[in-house]
């Protein structure tokens, strides 16, 4: 591809990725409803929600709350931009992590017990998934000898299969699904960190969440690579859909865990899998001539 074509592709991806996340969220709601014998909302419902919110009257608690929400959106957008332009995965990680910090600060800045507890729980989620995400990125870097998304030119799923599995709990947390819907726990915290946002500002926070999911799905999609671009795209899409479907099944058959269990399970599960994977990759496979 020429440089211009590359830039255009990246820009298209930057716009398309969050939209795709919106559609996926709609499908997710529909399928979940069907699993629970309900009709469920239309597939485009997440977009209707955002549009409706944008048209509402502005209402806020204080200006800090809004600033933090917008910073959250900005950092998730930057993270996605660095990713689709083929940038450094570590920078993507740190930028997205900064986005989460701003979400937490926004939640703290409202004097509501739900919001404050949601913020504390969100931080525990950060403690649960960030180390795993980081170490998976390190494993990718170890296997590829580069952190640049654009330079990954081999299939990662085979050598890093266990690391890929380690990302499933991370996806569960980011999608706010059972058993890890700790922060937004709808039955007790009424959507936790998001509760004190309304109207257009809630739309901002929602969009930031879409972008955050898009970043994680983008990292998941890197695990599939094929020289043929169409096969590559099909493979990446399948990978994302399969991972999402697994998460949805887990969501429907489990109940929420307590906070401590989430942190200890996610960390030990993720670290063990990635460590096993790296030992296999470094010692065992070269030993048997693979």
């Amino acid at each position: 591809m020429t440089p211009t074509a590359q830039v255009i592709t990246s820009l298209v991806l930057l716009v398309a990725a969050p939209l795709a996340v919106g559609v996926l969220l709609g499908v997710d709601r529909k399928l979940t409803a069907r699993m629970q014998n309900r009709v469920g909302p239309p597939i485009l419902q997440p977009f209707y929600d955002i549009l409706k919110l944008l048209g509402k009257r502005r209402s806020l608690l204080n200006s800090g709350q809004v600033c933090f929400a917008q910073c959250c959106l900005l950092f998730q957008l930057l993270a996605l931009a660095v990713l689709v332009f083929g940038g450094d995965l570590l920078v993507v990680f740190f930028l997205s992590s900064a986005g989460s910090v701003f979400l937490v600060l926004g939640a703290f800045s409202a004097n509501s017990p739900f919001s404050q507890m949601g913020a504390q729980r969100e931080l525990l989620q950060v403690l649960a998934y960030e180390p795993v995400l980081f170490i998976v990125i390190m494993a990718v870097g170890f296997d590829q000898r580069t952190f640049l998304a654009a330079q990954i030119d081999r299939m990662l799923l085979a050598p890093l299969f266990l690391a890929f599995i380690a990302l499933i709990p991370v996806l569960i947390i980011k999608l706010q699904k059972s058993p890890y819907d700790i922060a937004t726990a709808h039955t007790e915290l009424v959507s936790g960190p998001h509760i004190e946002y309304s109207g257009p500002y809630l739309a901002v926070v929602e969009l930031a969440h879409w972008l955050e999911i898009a970043v994680l799905l983008g990292i998941l999609s890197l695990f599939w690579y094929d020289p043929n671009i169409w096969v590559s795209i099909a493979g990446k899409a399948t990978l994302i859909l399969v991972a999402w479907f697994v998460v949805m099944i887990i969501d429907n058959v489990t109940a929420r865990l307590v906070r401590k269990r989430m942190v200890s399970f996610t960390l030990s599960f993720g670290f063990t899998l990635v460590a096993l994977n790296l030992i296999l990759l470094h010692y065992v496979l070269p030993g048997v001539g693979l």
């Binding site: 950092f75 913020a119 670290f271």
Partner: protein, 634 residues
């Protein structure tokens, strides 16, 4: 002596003279003037040295002992005077440990000096750009802290001895980073130990005395390790010059012991696990002292020493792994422990130990990228940490406590303090500021040290938690009476301008990252990158400046645009009940678990330190055995 030599001498002597004058002055007004004049001179000298060396394209200034007339023979006299002082302090405080540690240093050092083994080793002073980073940090950040202390200590009764110790501390630090001869280095090293003891003990409460004694004991133990390291270095390498040791080729077996002892000394100075207790105890000292110990002086010296020794340490795989693991483990352990702390000063103390652990990790890895990351972290951590400590100090000055819980609603009661806190935490935690750049580089180089990468993963996650928790508390809307309170009493000029200077420095230097690299860091590393991308180019590129601009413009624009109208303000959702509530923070680790975790971490670290000495001996034993077997075979 040329201009460089004069400036180096001034950087050492100006603060010492300033301190001496403070001791003799009865009036506070005059002491304040002397402190300000000394600070200005110090800042001017350090900047002049930097500009001169940069303009002259000189990377290293070496001076032989005879060129440094006022110093020459004084070094030994001062060295023994310091050790005898420690001995006397040991007698006064009735601490046998201190007495034993002092005697154990005096005897070997006297034997070493009298036998003339250290004579004529030159150049005694060798100043490079690693030293330049340290001198700039010590002189500028340290001076700002001294100016801040003029206001902070307004109710203190013992100004002369307080400011004398503060200023001499700066001079000792500046001196230490110029030394090439380790005996000279030792003198400044012990001087910083004495200054920190005096400053921690300043308030003369029982707790202060106890903490000061603990700090003295641990850092004197480090001094003993340094003395042993120096003597063994002469024995194994035939030289006590840093430049000779670092140029050493592949070492093995017992010849690793001197480096092991020096690393041990650095660990005590930088308060790495298991030696962290002295730095935590040092929190009883007035806040400017904490700021000085944590950002501008003392703990940096250990990290600096290991960065200087990096070529030697990183050339031996065993040393590299052990020193690197001690650093990474300290980062991990302190990041976890910090989550459970409810005192902001203790959170900051743990964070300091962790960040120094990262610098030590960089020194152990020792590649160009790693040293780059270590130096960037040294610089930016110092600025942000000074900012955070001084911010907490303003809070403590007003309310008399430094707990995180009462900071609830600080945004409403004291916008300036909470803004300073925000900048401090953002620059130490988030992209695109300086500390982030070094975290990024450390992650890149950790690729060849994967077990360490797991420690980093957990440490990074935990540090997000404890900083965000604290900042969230300050930015939470407080109790209703807080919000109705008039906006903050006037912040005193000393506080305001030092904090402003640090805020400006932390942010502006992030913008000038490329210039910082080209003019301050690459002269030491030898590589002269055309731009930031080449340094980072081995792994990936990112237009940092663009990123910074986008972030800052957006943040500024958003704050300007979002001016809520009265009618759009609402109140929080409380299920329709008018109840008043106050949320308290979560700390997760209670005191019992904190103690358990601390001792578990200490045991792990002690095992690592034991390995530091056991492995060279084992290697030697194995080699001897193999030779013996080979000799026995026909």
């Amino acid at each position: 002596m040329d201009a460089y030599a004069w400036l180096l001498m001034l950087l050492m002597i100006v603060p010492v003279i300033g301190g001496a004058i403070c001791l003799g002055l009865p009036s506070r007004r005059w002491i304040a003037r002397v402190v300000i004049i000394t600070s200005i001179l110090l800042i001017a000298c350090s900047l002049a040295l930097f500009s001169l060396m940069t303009a002259g394209d000189i990377n290293v200034v070496s001076l032989i002992a005879s060129q440094v007339l006022p110093m020459g023979e004084l070094v030994l006299v001062i060295d023994f005077a310091l050790l005898v002082t420690f001995l006397l302090l040991g007698f006064r405080d009735r601490s046998w440990l201190v007495i034993v540690l002092a005697v154990l240093q005096i005897v070997p050092l006297a034997w070493f000096e009298l036998s003339g083994r250290s004579d004529g080793q030159d150049p005694a002073l060798m100043f490079n750009f690693l030293g330049m980073v340290m001198v700039l940090v010590t002189s500028i950040v340290g001076s700002l802290i001294c100016i801040y202390a003029i206001k902070y200590m307004e109710h203190d009764k013992h100004w002369p001895r307080f400011f004398a110790a503060m200023l001499v501390f700066l001079g000792a630090m500046n001196g230490a980073v110029m030394c090439n001869n380790l005996v000279w280095f030792l003198m400044f090293w012990e001087a910083t130990t004495l200054c920190s003891y005096l400053l921690i003990r300043h308030e003369r409460t029982a707790e202060a005395k106890k903490s000061a004694l603990r700090a003295l004991t641990i850092t004197l133990g480090g001094g003993l390790a340094l003395v042993l390291g120096i003597i063994l270095a002469q024995y194994y390498y035939g030289s006590i010059l840093l430049s000779e040791i670092t140029a050493g080729s592949l070492l093995e077996g017992l010849a690793l012991l001197p480096l092991g002892f020096m690393a041990l000394a650095a660990f005590t100075k930088s308060a790495q696990v298991p030696f962290q207790s002295w730095l935590l105890g040092a929190m009883v000292a007035p806040t400017p002292v904490s700021a000085l110990l944590h950002s501008a002086t003392m703990v940096n010296l250990g990290a600096y020493f290991l960065l200087r020794l990096s070529p030697a340490i990183s050339s031996v795989a065993e040393l590299q792994w052990i020193v690197g693991l001690v650093g990474a483990f300290s980062f991990l352990a302190t990041s976890i422990l910090a989550i459970g702390q409810s005192s902001s000063k203790r959170v900051l103390a743990y964070s300091t130990i962790g960040n120094l652990g990262l610098i030590i990790l960089c020194a152990a890895i020792g590649t160009t990228e790693a040293l780059f990351a270590g130096m960037v972290l040294l610089l930016f951590h110092a600025i942000s940490k000074a900012l955070l400590f001084l911010t907490v100090g303003v809070f403590k000055h007003q309310l008399g406590k430094d707990d995180i819980e009462p900071m609830l609603g600080l945004r409403d009661t004291s916008p300036f303090v909470s803004f300073a806190l925000l900048v401090g935490v953002m620059t130490i935690l988030l992209p695109p500021f300086g500390v982030f750049v070094s975290k990024w580089m450390i992650s890149e180089v950790a690729l060849d040290f994967l077990p360490i990468a797991f420690m980093l993963a957990l440490g990074f996650g935990a540090s997000v938690v404890f900083y965000a928790k604290w900042l969230g508390r300050a930015y939470a809307a407080g109790p209703i009476e807080n919000r109705r309170a008039p906006l903050s009493e006037r912040i005193d000029g000393h506080f305001k301008w030092t904090l402003m200077a640090l805020i400006a420095g932390a942010v502006a230097l992030a913008f000038l990252m490329q210039q910082v690299i080209v003019y301050l860091i690459s002269p030491y590393l030898g590589a002269v990158p055309n731009d930031l991308f080449q340094v980072i180019g081995a792994y990936g590129t990112l237009p940092m400046l663009g990123l910074l601009l986008v972030v800052s413009i957006t943040v500024v624009a958003v704050t300007l645009v979002v001016k809520p109208k009265a009618e759009s303000l609402s109140s929080a959702y409380t299920c329709g009940e008018p109840f008043v509530f106050e949320v308290s923070g979560s700390y997760y680790i209670d005191e019992r678990n904190d103690r358990r975790l601390t001792s578990a971490f200490n045991y792990c670290a002690i095992a690592l330190l034991a390995a530091l000495f056991a492995i060279p001996m084992l290697i030697d034993l194995t080699t001897i055995t193999i030779y013996a077997i080979q000799g026995a075979l026909p």
